[in-house]
């Protein structure tokens, strides 16, 4: 699959403060890419640089191979986006707002009705933008971003302020665009659940640094290490044995079970040693790590796994 958006070692600082610190990432065709991070992590700054609103201090951003600084117009042919809020001209109708953008992007006039239909705005398209609800504004923003059939769409917190039904609608639309239309969709958010439900790939950013990139599966399964819950008898002997031999593996201890952080190949060794010491394993299961735990771990906000 083709690389649509590539960031290579991008830096950006405002004054002495480094906002974006050596960010590199790749978004592929048909991929729903989640850009996750707490508020102030540098998500919007990255997006603004991708869209050419901010200059790049060093590094390179290219869209389908076109450098956005040297070949701005060619790069912008294939990208669209909504930054922060879908801000449009309040005094113009939805149609006029789309018309302005369509003209600027070289999209044919018929396409306006097409995209309005796609986001379900065809009934209200002649009304003034200021009369729309937030959900309608978001949808119109998406419609605008779709006008010139871009290869990649950048959305900054697209579900912000929407009710659950609205969020679901947006999610389904984005899935449709990515998986059916083959468009790359780059979505930023600070809400984990949303990312987990929607995205194929998630990139976690904090303090301007990329901490982890991977598929949702990879990030949650955590590949080589995992959390295993042992139910052992007798509990007192088991606890003393483990505390003596492998204290660094303990994650949590309760009356019922002991959670251990182990690699897959360690499980067999541990099990043998437990049995050799006459401890009965009557329960062992892997604990699913949610993205939330992984996120808290990665961003330093959690203490589940040290």
């Amino acid at each position: 699959m083709q690389d649509v958006l590539v960031l290579e070692n991008v830096y950006k600082s405002f004054g002495k403060r480094t906002i974006i610190d050596n960010v590199s990432l790749t978004v592929k065709e048909g991929e729903l890419f989640g850009f996750l991070g707490p508020n102030g992590a540098g998500k919007t700054t990255t997006i603004k640089m991708i869209l050419g609103l901010l200059s790049i201090d060093s590094g390179r951003i290219s869209i389908l191979g076109n450098d956005i600084e040297n070949d701005f117009e060619a790069a912008m042919q294939n990208i669209s986006g909504i930054v922060e809020n879908p801000d449009m001209y309040q005094y113009l109708s939805g149609y006029d707002n789309l018309r302005i953008h369509a003209r600027a992007c070289g999209a044919p006039k018929e396409r306006i009705d097409e995209v309005a239909h796609m986001v379900g705005m065809q009934m209200r398209i002649k009304d003034k933008f200021k009369s729309y609800s937030l959900g309608m504004k978001q949808r119109l923003g998406v419609a605008q971003a779709l006008l010139h059939n871009p290869k990649i769409m950048i959305l900054d917190e697209p579900t912000n302020g929407l009710d659950p039904a609205g969020i679901k609608e947006v999610r389904e639309l984005l899935r449709y665009l990515a998986h059916t239309q083959g468009m790359a969709v780059f979505v930023s958010s600070h809400i984990l659940q949303e990312m987990q439900q929607m995205c194929d790939t998630v990139c976690i950013i904090n303090n301007g640094k990329i901490l982890r990139v991977g598929t949702v599966d990879e990030l949650t399964k955590n590949s080589n290490a995992g959390l295993y819950r042992y139910k052992l008898r007798p509990m007192e002997n088991a606890l003393s044995f483990i505390q003596q031999n492998i204290p660094d593996k303990i994650v949590a201890v309760t009356d019922e079970y002991i959670d251990l952080h182990l690699n897959e190949d360690e499980i067999d060794t541990i099990n043998r040693r437990l049995m050799d010491n006459n401890l009965v394993i009557y329960g062992l299961n892997a604990v699913e790590i949610s993205l939330e735990q992984s996120y808290m771990e990665i961003t330093g906000g959690g203490n589940v796994i040290v």
């Binding site: 901010l54 117009e73 912008m76 113009l92 992007c105």
Partner: protein, 512 residues
């Protein structure tokens, strides 16, 4: 490679501007004020004519005054002369512009032994009014007038001229007087100019108009007398060129001297081609004066310019604007193009409004008049209506300069309020600035003051107008060496600097 040219961006800018209701609300308010201004100036012109005292009324009033004073002092030569002159003028229906007024005045002055007039009043022969001004004002009676026989001969001659209405003989007499040193004019050069001018009346067969002004203070500029007005203009310009300094003793600049020479040539051209100048109360004259309402357009354009970029930042739409496949310089140019279009449209509407209102008041009389002027040393003739249009265009230059200032301030601050406030403040205080820069040095400008934008925004002072066609209109600038070309250059340099700074800032700066 760019698939699209800037035309679509320009179309977008137009859609955004023209679908905004505040654009039209503001324009309507300003245009209403323009219309009111034009109506007001027409009304004041009209009322001036209506309430102006007829010359007969004024003559009768002066005559009654003179007779009243003769009641207490029957021998007073001044009041006797007034009484006789005014009675004669009224009786023979000689209007204040008729050359015979001068001849009758001369005749009765001689009859009552009065030889001249000055700012202190009428003087009797030999009377000294102010020792210091002797050289200027003391006119000795001519030798001829002291000899009773020659005095009588002169009076008889004048009387014959008056009764026969023979202006050519009157001019002839004036020329003879000058040649024979009658009236003691000291300066040979000035005397030659006067003779030349009198000969011009004869040569062109133009009836002179009265030069005596102390009987009537009307505002009329009868079109019928434009020819003799032109000859008077030639006379004034020639005398100015001869003297080389104005009444306060300040030397004329090279530009001013050049203007005097041009005025002479233009007046001669008007006489030889029979093209009367436009009078200031005619349709064209009023239309020309209405260009002062372009000052209101400045306010309009400043607000538009300040909002052009600031509103995009304010509403957040700047992001949508910039993430289209167009470089920022194209967007900047599209917005600038819109500004130019708006200024031309508002100028055009002001022109049309003035045209309609002035036509409603004065009609279209004299609309085909020609303007004659010097451009880069060449005399050109063009229809006056076209000239007025060009004048409006030239006067848009200061408007564009102030708009550019508002534009650069709004791009840098990204707020319209700051930019509008600062620009309008500078606009309204510019006269004060010019004054402050000239006053402390006793009328001479602070060095470099003439390069400031404020000192160059009153371009109408440089442009010939209906008023200046009759002479006597001299402009006030910071520095006498300033010319139209200079001011236009200064304005253009300012405009380019403002726009370049705005362009640079807009294209480079981050949109946070």
């Amino acid at each position: 490679m760019s698939l699209f040219n800037g035309a679509v961006l320009f179309k977008n800018e137009r859609l955004k501007m023209y679908k905004k209701s505040s654009t039209w609300v503001l324009m309507c308010i300003i245009l209403l004020l323009v219309a009111l201004m034009v109506i007001f100036s027409n009304l004041s012109q009209y009322s001036m004519k209506v309430y102006q005292e007829e010359w007969q009324e004024q003559y009768k009033r002066l005559l009654a005054d003179a007779k009243n004073q003769l009641g207490t002092n029957p021998e007073d030569p001044y009041n006797n002369k007034m009484s006789d002159t005014l009675s004669y003028l009224l009786e023979h229906d000689i209007n204040p512009y008729d050359w015979r007024t001068d001849a009758v005045d001369d005749y009765f002055s001689l009859k009552h032994n009065i030889y001249g007039q000055n700012s202190y009043g009428i003087r009797k022969p030999g009377e000294i009014i102010d020792q210091d001004f002797n050289d200027f004002y003391l006119e000795k009676p001519a030798e001829a007038d002291i000899d009773p026989a020659r005095l009588q001969e002169r009076m008889d001659k004048l009387w014959a001229i008056i009764t026969k209405n023979d202006w050519k003989s009157y001019i002839g007499m004036k020329i003879d007087d000058l040649k024979s040193d009658y009236g003691q004019s000291e300066n040979k050069g000035e005397r030659d100019v006067e003779i030349e001018i009198y000969e011009l009346y004869l040569e062109k067969n133009i009836v002179p108009i009265s030069e005596v002004t102390h009987y009537y203070s009307g505002f009329d500029q009868p079109e019928l007398m434009w020819k003799s007005k032109q000859i008077q203009l030639i006379r004034e310009s020639k005398l100015n060129l001869l003297q080389g300094e104005d009444q306060s003793g300040a030397m004329y600049t090279r530009t001013q001297l050049k203007n005097f020479e041009n005025d002479i040539k233009i007046a001669q051209e008007r006489l030889s081609t029979n093209s009367p100048p436009v009078t200031s109360d005619s349709f064209l004259g009023m239309l020309e004066q209405s260009d002062s309402s372009l000052g209101l357009i400045t306010i309009l354009m400043v607000v538009y310019s300040a909002n052009l970029f600031a509103s995009e930042y304010g509403s957040g739409t700047i992001k949508m604007l910039l993430i289209t496949p167009h470089k920022r310089n194209k967007i900047f140019r599209a917005k600038l193009g819109l500004l130019l279009e708006m200024s031309l449209i508002s100028m055009g509407i002001v022109f049309i409004i003035s045209f309609i209102i002035n036509a409603a008041f004065t009609g279209f009389k004299g609309i085909g008049a020609m303007q004659i002027l010097y451009v880069f040393g060449n005399m050109i003739r063009l229809p006056y209506l076209l000239y007025i249009f060009v004048r409006y265009l030239i006067l848009m230059l200061p408007v564009i300069a102030y708009s550019s200032l508002a534009l650069v301030l709004s791009v840098i601050t990204r707020k319209s309020a700051v930019s509008i406030t600062v620009t309008l403040l500078l606009l309204f205080t510019s006269d004060l600035f010019v004054m402050l820069m000239t006053l402390p040095n006793g009328g001479t400008a602070v060095p470099g003051a003439k390069f400031l934008i404020f000192a160059n925004t009153s371009l109408q002072y440089y442009l010939p107008s209906a008023q200046s066609a009759y002479g006597g209109m001299y402009y006030f600038t910071v520095d006498e060496t300033m010319t139209l070309g200079f001011s236009v250059t200064v304005l253009l340099v300012h405009i380019i600097c403002f726009l370049w700074t705005a362009h640079d800032d807009f294209c480079r700066r981050d949109v946070k």
